[in-house]
Amino acid sequence: MRLITHNMLSCNIKGVTNGFPLRIEAGNVIKKEVDFNPDFIRHMFAKLEWKALVEGARSMGYAELPEDSPDAAVLESDESFLKKLHHALLELHLEEGALVCPETGRKFPVNKGIPNMLLHEDEV
């Protein structure tokens, strides 16, 4: 599971209002190289929840991202920033671990890189 995915997910158990962001319990994190596509990264930047991304990256062992969300102007001028963002979003993989709901503590397991977001019968 990559951070780009983590940035989209929240806990959707019935009754939970504050299910985002999910805390990452990193079991096994690996790095996989992905071709750099600056257009794609710029396109995604606008949709991200920055704080959640920085937190998530830290849980996966990457602390190079700035705390505050940079201006859009940085995207055009600073390629090294784009590369860092690319690395954080697409190249860090959580193979085994869990995503934990901040409100209920419910753990959504991540196995073989695939998060299991299915709810149990009593959570629906």
Binding site: M8, S10, C11, F20, V34, I114, N116
Partner: protein
Amino acid sequence: MWFLCVFYHRLLDFRKPEVEALAELFGEEIAENESLQWRLPVHHHNDTPFHFVQLSSEEIARNIAKRSILVKGMYELWGEGTCYEELKDSILSYSDSRKLQFLTSDSTFRISVETFGKGLTFDEQKDRIQSLTYIPFEGRVNLKNPDHNFFLMEMIESEENNGLQPILQRRIFFGREVGFADRKLLPTFQLKSRTYLGPTAMDAEMAFLMANQAKATSGKLVYDPFVGTGSILVSAAQFGAMTMGADIDIRVVRDGRGPDCNVWSNFKQYGLPMPVALLRMDNNLPPWRSGLKEIFDAIICDPPYGVRAGGRKSGGRKILRGTVDPYTVPDDKRTDHIPSTGAYSLVECVHDLLHLAARMLVMKGRLVFFFPVLRDETGGEVKFPEHPCFKLVAVSEQILSSRYSRFLLTMVKVEPYSEEIKEAARLMHLEFRENHLKWLEDGNIHSSVFKPIDSSQIHTDPKAFKDPKPKYRGKYV
């Protein structure tokens, strides 16, 4: 500029929508609520492989032909006629300023003869090429790799034509090739040699057609909420898109059939970039964070029709019916518990899909999906699900059996999502469900497709049983 567009003679309903989508992708300016201009050759029926289309540049025509699955070639027409005399007049009257630049002495060329409706011997082909001596070719012939490729295409009149409308009159076209199809694509990607398959894996040709309808290209994010074995995403990835998929069945998505036989290995087989994400989730209760919207450029999918694979959603049969209260699984059993899932009707599934697309697609993003329809029930026009955020831009029928077809629907998001729209959509959904045939709601499409033929319908007289109409294959294949 008008181009002669020659199609492969298959999937007739899919041909023009594909060209329209690709034209838009490659920069053709098409006004709101308008489409490309098409013209038929004289005496030809709409099913003909020959169509004239107006495009603003040769480059767009070339790009369309290269990426298209159903276009065989795009040509600049130099002349046409019902016989070779007419063809000669037509070619001679075509402006020299257009012709001469391709006939120069320092260029190489080739003339190919193609016939539709009858094969020609090598000598017959040679004779036809020789008859073109009035065209001042000054360059040298190069059969392998010419600068300019010319085609002499003859459509020969015939009564029987694989169930096509009979061709009333011969027509001959002569043109310069502007663009041609990539014939290596389908043989490379065919399912026959795919590592990981499932029962409903989308056939390669259709998956590419869907990816073209969705305008999948580099820099875009394409999502499939019913990913299964990833067959649709593979095609989108081949065209350069970043892909993402989800499925409720974890065995298909995570495990596959082993470490070298799963969704990832399908991408590895073709050297394509891996999907950005694969998730297990329920589209009926998706885990998207509440602020998330307008993130996908296209959603391409094949929702479960309930015929060969049924849809599932969270809850379990008994809970959904209310026979049993939601139960709590004891803590010690929770970690490996596989939550029960219950039946998920096609109508509800499509409603959730439209809702997902309305929220998650960027403006002008495309939703491309299949919708099954029973054939004998609908006497008149088929009704499709609607949503206030979407405009239906293309409908293509693929007949699957005598009992049912599926329609590939292409919808474009034209309105942003809002709470008011959500309410309007809910009402549209209820109306669709109420007014539509009962078979959709009950999931009875499966029984309708597989019910045995009523034996009383089988005539005892073998002659009478013979099909009165010749089988028209056009929409089947």
